[in-house]
């Protein structure tokens, strides 16, 4: 019986992977469901096991199944490991994603090794790796763990932030669907490092497949005794972007309204239920097993400046080759957008890219030589964030994008702090007046004042970062804010 690998990743399912899988079953194949390898323009990407190894085809439809099995399909991609888009990557975090059956538990070698090392050596290794929080804040993971470990208290928690809400990002989801055990092992290692007995994974209701896969994986890990006395609970949020902010996430986990807490106290000191808590992103935790097995130095050897290791870059929007591309920090934005992404899907010139989610700055092509690392981006008021890059071609209306940023802030505001609660709505209203040609100069000045207030006055990054897309659009694309009676784009 021929074994065929068909992804069960949401991105593949969205383009018909389920029907393709059924067709292979109907054709008498043994179908193994995997995650996605992250080449979304090729999904559904199927692989057929042959004596020479796995051979890939994509994008496949049920109608292609017969030809694929007969060996004569024009969709043939050959050995994926040799595919240039994958071969050029440096897959550490996503090494198994798209390759393995996500529900078959691997040996937790890294956890075993971590236990041999003991918490102190373990935290030292993670610190030495230079791993920074992949959720967006970029805070050194080892330092956070040390703080929690040293915080007084009998009960501690580890919390995984899987509330992936940034537009154009999907790495957390891909990993939970494609290699949930990487996250489970990472969480267990984190718990061992900080001295926590219980872990929570806070996911989102928009990710039903990820949640189902992850829940099944937890059950397997529990049944197989992989976790020891440690336990993990999956919680699913109700669709608030702000619950991706760590303190709002903790409020939500405690059963309260998802509202940001003032810091201090830091969650590392007083977090979930008032106890010391390490809150880490999915990607941060899933990278930890590799660091444990290969050493902090090996990870730190990759990257540039203070941005060490690899980043799972997520390419989306109007781009020819969307998908997940894990590479060391240091590529230029142009290499990522033009060479890796292949430019705009429409074939038109790229006019702007937004990096780091809906609150990241817009980069014009003039800044495309910026190296992809935390510090270089910060120097241009940009954001690495969670690694999302959204591409726009030259039909984009940047005034509409600026308005969208404020509208996003208004919709997602938890309503706690005044600048965000009232200011975001006032910003939308003001930009609407500007776009309608009412006191354009006065309106833009007011938006600038508002952005200062949002940046310095907001309680959390939602309000605090909204000025970045707004002001970068105004600064780099001023022509879009001049009044045009037709209101359309250029």
């Amino acid at each position: 019986m021929t074994r065929v690998y068909v992804p069960r990743d949401s991105a593949a399912l969205a383009v018909g992977a389920e029907a393709v899988a059924h067709a292979f079953v109907a054709a008498g194949c043994e179908v193994v469901r995997t995650g996605s390898r992250g080449l979304f323009w090729l999904e559904p990407l199927v692989e057929v096991e042959t004596p020479e190894g796995r051979r890939a085809f994509g994008p496949a439809t049920p109608g292609d199944v017969a030809a694929i099995l007969a060996g004569g399909s024009p969709l043939a991609l050959g050995d994926m490991a040799a595919h240039p888009w994958l071969a050029a990557q440096n897959r550490l975090t996503f090494a198994r994603c798209g390759v393995v059956d996500p529900l078959v538990a691997p040996a937790f070698d890294a956890l075993a090794r971590a236990r041999e090392m003991g918490p102190d050596a373990l935290i030292a290794a993670v610190t030495a790796s230079g791993l920074r929080g992949r959720g967006g804040a970029g805070f050194p993971v080892g330092v956070k763990w040390r703080t929690v470990r040293e915080a007084a208290g009998e009960h501690k928690y580890v919390v995984c932030n899987a509330d992936e809400g940034d537009s154009g990002t999907f790495a957390d989801r891909m990993l939970m669907e494609g290699d949930p055990f990487a996250l489970i092992e990472g969480l267990a290692i984190a718990a061992f490092a900080v001295g926590a007995g219980k872990g929570f994974v806070y996911s989102r209701s928009e990710y039903p497949h990820a949640n189902a896969t992850f829940a099944a994986a937890i059950e397997t890990a529990r049944t197989k005794g992989l976790l020891g006395s440690f336990d993990i609970e999956l919680r699913v949020g109700a669709g608030a972007y702000v619950c991706g902010e760590e303190t709002a996430l903790l409020e939500s986990l405690e059963g309260r309204r998802g509202q940001v807490r003032a810091k201090p106290p830091l969650p590392a000191h007083r977090g979930l239920f008032g106890r010391p808590t390490a809150v880490n992103n999915v990607l941060s935790l899933a990278t930890v097993p590799w660091i444990v097995l290969n050493g902090g130095e090996a990870y730190a050897a990759l990257g540039t400046g203070r941005s060490r290791g690899t980043m799972p870059i997520q390419l989306a929007g109007n781009v020819a080759r969307p998908g997940l591309y894990e590479a060391p920090f240091g590529l230029t934005l142009r290499e990522i957008v033009e060479d890796i992404g292949g430019g705009a899907a429409t074939g038109r010139p790229v006019r702007a890219v937004q990096c780091g989610g809906p609150l990241g700055a817009y980069f014009p092509p003039a800044l495309f030589d910026t190296p992809y690392d935390y510090e270089a981006f910060a120097a241009r008021d940009g954001l690495i964030g969670h690694g999302g890059i959204v591409v726009f071609d030259d039909t984009v209306d940047m005034a509409a994008q600026a308005r969208f940023a404020l509208e996003f802030c208004a919709i997602e505001s938890c309503g706690k702090c005044t600048p965000c609660r009232i200011g975001s709505t006032r910003g939308v209203e003001t930009l609407d007046r500007v776009r309608a040609g009412v006191d354009v100069a006065g309106g833009l000045a007011l938006v600038e004042d508002l952005c200062e207030t949002l940046k310095f006055g907001s309680l959390c990054a939602l309000g605090g970062f909204t000025p970045y897309p707004v002001m970068s659009a105004i600064r780099h694309f001023p022509e879009d804010f001049a009044f045009r009676p037709d209101g359309g784009g250029t």
């Binding site: 008032g274 702090c417 005044t418 600048p419 009232i422 709505t425 006032r426 200062e452 310095f456 006055g457």
Partner: protein, 946 residues
């Protein structure tokens, strides 16, 4: 008197090592953990703020208090940032000013125009920052949303709300009810009571904390809207329950506008409940009687007379009765609602003028067993701790008390301590011993570790079983017992409780409490750290009330839970001044400070001061007076501020006793139920109209200040003084402070108390004397007042009130939050919207058996009598148990209670009555007869034409 203003330091006080820093170049030293905002306020630097207030934890939402800190990035909020050594803070800069003004502009863009009453903090901050309008005006706004006027006392106007969450946080942190929330997100965020309900229909308990916390008058008292903002205020003590909250009475001219809890009040720390905060309207209720009245017999209508005539008539009647029946036919009842000074004068008049000790007080029917039990075991008749002590408790045991209804302000503090457990803050575990599932058993963020739902009347059996576990499992604090207690008594007690017949397993059949649960509770109490017992009338109002109090003291001594903070034996006393009334010599066997009348030295002291001989024999207690009256030996009674007909048990017997008397003098605010049997009515003054002191449940003596002149013309002590003088025992005090000076001279535990001291200290807890000049928060620190603590054997004896085929259910009684005792005050306020009538709680099983449906009229009958009321079907009560309140005279729950009473003190057994419940179609014969009699008795003769 001017308006008393409180200064808001922004965030709560903290305790810690001193930390030095500079703010705008000025050096400041504050305790560790203090916020920059508070440190600046202490240094006299006002950082703009709206969402911060020092009664609530920092929230950090308004973003006005942003500051710059040298060496730190960004602009942190001063309210949420604690000080650090050497920190250099800048509170002003061009950027900070810009951001603050912009934030104010944002606020003003959604803040409806309103009349300036000087109370809106947003408008004040805008003015201070020089912001006159908003460039953002004209967009979406909350203007036009409906104003919630459902609560009888306050309104909520969303158009003025700035969503600072101070109300929501006050409901959470101060009150602990969590009725309020923010509904919606972002700009649509809106304060909401529950799931978009009206305040009145929500979980809101109308404590007023939200109204007080509101900075913009979005939540404001209706009285402020009607009368206008207050222009003067006076600090005084609440006249409702034994918590003794300090309030700022705020007035406009001579009209009381509102009562605002006082932050420096040591019992309430700025919190309040619906009664003290809002239910003061009775003081000007139309039914209040302001002129004296007399009549020759209770069949006649009342005749309004002058004060002189009323006093002269009363004196003549008392003199006649004394001449005919002897002084022993005369007695007085002091009031736990009146001041210490007034109470003192009543007992002084009875004892000194008539030479008898026939004086008693309403503590007879509530906490007299506490007096007896704690005096016997520990040496003094009072609770051992201050309220603050609860913050250090690790285990809290609540027995026969319902703090969230009866003592709501203290309950909120208790809940804070209990909630801390689930919130990771240390907290306390809770054990509830009560037949009924009181709210504390399950309330937001609080779950009792154990609820021992015992059968009514089996307190002593449960307490002894707890002791059995502690003794037999070796959980005794031996060092404490050896050092602090009389060892022979301990050994006798330990041997007694260790008997196998006292094990939880052996007593389970009687108490209904599962043995495993009881054992676990005993272990928790004995080994869970500092353990405090709080109890109420569910302990005292039994035939073994005094025994149960002693059993509680035994437990505390055996486990070393006395003589330090966080522990103790704490009676939750009912009335505002029930502790004081007892302290003031209101019991027939004791002079002030609990000294027995048989003690010659004490008598000599009083005889010298009063210039009259004191009877060395105890006088009659209230039930004894009524018995003696029925027997024809007791003829004249002066009742100050108590409605014994409604509040005392076995109403028919009380009525018979009163009817047998020849002169019943009612000194009260209203024609109460007892007044139906009265011959003289002397109008009383409210707590708002007099100077004096109240003593709360933690022995705290607090000033009551005259806020408005007495509508009836005199403060109550003046009326007693007039009567005494007319009776030939002149009194000539010019001010209550002189009465207190006399009390202090004659009472060792009050030796240092004076009005001057109270002005200086705010309040003090007795003993307050040379040994403890600042008073005594926690008693029995080094040794017990009686020397060695005395263990007393407490054998459980079943009450003679037993269920049987005729009366198969057990009735127990209690109170609810919005009403107070017999309701004389609260029924004459808007509080009736929460409790229009008393209802009978009955378990679904018992209701089913009797064909009783929700809201049906049912007849409640005991061997003493019967009454009708509506049924509420609930599993709060166990099968076999029914429950009601006694707030309404139309129900007269005490028609069914019996005359069984505590063996030691005659405190009535209100908490256990065997009853039957049956569907009914209307009032009982008694209710109809009484109603008719009452209507007749209340007639007042029309004024004769001039």
């Amino acid at each position: 008197m001017a308006r008393v203003l409180e200064f808001d330091l922004g965030t709560p006080e903290t305790v810690g090592e001193p930390i030095g820093l500079t703010i705008d170049g000025a050096a400041v030293t504050v305790p560790e953990g203090t916020s920059i905002l508070r440190a600046a306020a202490v240094a006299g630097i006002a950082i703009p703020k709206l969402c911060a207030t020092d009664s609530l934890d920092a929230f950090g939402s308004c973003r006005l208090c942003l500051v710059e800190i040298e060496g730190r990035a960004g602009t942190p909020a001063a309210c949420a940032t604690p000080v650090a050594p050497g920190m250099a803070v800048r509170t002003r800069s061009a950027q900070l000013d810009r951001v603050r003004r912009n934030v104010i502009e944002l606020y003003l863009s959604d803040h409806a125009a309103h009349p300036d009453r000087g109370e809106c903090e947003l408008c004040a901050q805008a003015a201070a920052l020089g912001v006159r309008g908003s460039r953002y005006a004209g967009g979406a706004a909350h203007d036009g949303l409906p104003c919630d006027e459902s609560n009888p006392y306050f309104v909520f106007d969303p158009a003025r709300c700035i969503v600072c969450s101070r109300c929501v946080r006050a409901c959470d942190e101060v009150q602990g009810t969590l009725a309020l929330t923010i509904e919606g997100r972002g700009f649509a965020s809106k304060v909401s009571a529950g799931q978009d309900e009206l305040f009145l229909s929500s979980e809101c308990v109308s404590c007023g904390a939200c109204v007080q916390a509101c900075p913009t008058e979005a939540l404001v008292e209706k009285a402020v809207l009607e009368v206008g903002p207050p222009d003067r205020s006076e600090v005084t003590t609440c006249g409702y329950c034994g918590v003794g909250c300090t309030f700022k009475a705020e007035l406009r001219d001579d009209r009381l506008v509102r009562m605002v809890p006082w932050k420096d009040g040591k019992a309430n720390h700025g919190h309040s409940c619906v009664k003290g905060r809002f239910a003061w309207g009775y003081a000007s209720h139309r039914e209040r009687v302001l002129e004296p009245m007399i009549r020759t017999s209770i069949g006649e209508p009342w005749r309004t007379v002058s004060w002189d005539e009323a006093i002269a008539h009363t004196a003549a009647e008392f003199a006649r009765i004394e001449a005919r029946y002897g002084a022993h036919a005369i007695g007085g009842i002091t009031s736990s609602r009146c001041t210490n000074e007034e109470t003192y004068l009543v007992q002084k008049m009875i004892r000194a003028r008539f030479g008898v000790n026939n004086v008693d007080t309403c503590a007879r029917v509530c906490h007299s067993p506490t007096g007896y039990g704690l005096k016997t075991t520990l040496g003094t008749s009072a609770g051992t701790q201050d309220f603050d002590s609860v913050e250090q408790a690790d285990v809290i045991v609540v027995i026969g008390a319902n703090p969230t209804d009866g003592h709501p302000v203290f309950a909120s503090r208790m809940k804070q301590r209990l909630r801390a457990l689930s919130e990771g803050g240390g907290g306390a575990k809770l054990i509830v011993i009560d037949p009924r599932r009181i709210d504390l058993v399950r309330t937001p963020h609080v779950r009792a570790a154990h609820h021992l739902a015992l059968r009514p009347g089996t307190n002593v059996a449960v307490l002894v079983a707890l002791a059995h576990v502690i003794v037999t499992e070796g959980l005794i604090d031996e060092a404490f017992v050896r050092e602090r207690c009389a060892i022979e008594d301990f050994q006798a007690w330990a041997e007694h409780v260790a008997g196998p017949e006292h094990s939880p397993e052996a007593t389970e059949a009687v108490t209904g409490v599962p043995a495993g649960e009881l054992r676990a509770a005993a272990r928790l109490y004995a080994t869970g750290g500092a353990a405090a017992i709080y109890y109420g009338l569910g302990v005292t109002e039994h035939s073994q009330g005094s025994t149960a109090v002693m059993a509680i003291a035994n437990l505390a001594m055996a486990t070393g839970n006395l003589g330090k903070p966080g522990v103790g034996v704490n009676p939750l006393r009912g009335q505002n001044n029930v502790q004081g009334a007892c302290d003031m010599g209101s019991f027939p066997h004791e002079l002030t400070g609990y000294r027995h009348v048989s003690d010659e030295a004490t008598r000599a002291l009083f005889e010298a001061a009063w210039g009259a001989p004191i009877d060395p024999e105890p006088g009659l207690r209230i039930p004894n007076m009524l018995d003696a009256a029925v027997a024809g030996r007791f003829k004249a009674l002066y009742v100050q501020g108590e409605d014994i007909l409604q509040s005392d048990p076995n109403t028919k017997h009380v009525a018979a006793g009163l009817a047998a008397m020849e002169c019943v003098v009612i000194h009260d605010l209203f024609l109460n139920e007892t007044a139906n049997y009265g011959h003289v009515f002397l109008p009383g003054s409210t707590f708002l109209e007099k100077d004096g002191t109240f003593t709360n449940a933690e022995r705290r003596i607090q000033r009551v200040r005259r806020v408005i002149p007495p509508k009836n013309g005199f403060e109550d002590w003046e009326i007693t003084q007039k009567l005494s003088t007319a009776l030939g025992y002149p009194m000539a005090y010019e001010h209550p402070s002189q009465i207190m000076d006399e009390i202090a001279r004659l009472t060792p535990t009050f030796a240092s108390v004076s009005y001057d001291l109270l002005e200086r200290e705010g309040s003090v807890q007795w003993p307050c004397n040379a040994a403890a000049p600042a008073g005594t928060p926690v008693m029995h620190l080094e040794r017990f007042v009686r020397g060695l603590g005395k263990f007393v054997v407490t054998e459980y004896l079943a009450t003679d009130e037993k269920v049987g085929p005729r009366f198969p259910l057990l009735l127990t009684t209690g109170r609810i939050l919005s009403q107070y005792n017999v309701g004389a005050q609260t029924r004459r306020t808007e509080n009736v919207v929460w409790h229009e009538e008393d209802v009978l709680e009955i378990h679904p099983h018992d209701a089913e058996e009797r064909g009783v449906r929700e809201r049906d009229w049912v007849q409640l009958a005991s061997r003493a009598g019967s009454t009708t009321l509506r049924a509420r079907i609930t599993d709060r009560v166990a099968p076999g148990v029914v429950y009601t309140t006694f707030h309404h005279p139309s129900t007269q729950a005490n028609v069914v209670t019996t005359d069984y009473s505590d063996w030691a003190t005659n405190c009535p057994e209100y908490k256990v009555t065997a009853v039957q419940v049956a569907p009914s179609n209307g009032p009982t014969d008694w209710q109809e007869r009484y109603e008719a009699m009452s209507a007749r008795s209340r007639r007042i003769a029309p004024e004769p034409a001039e």
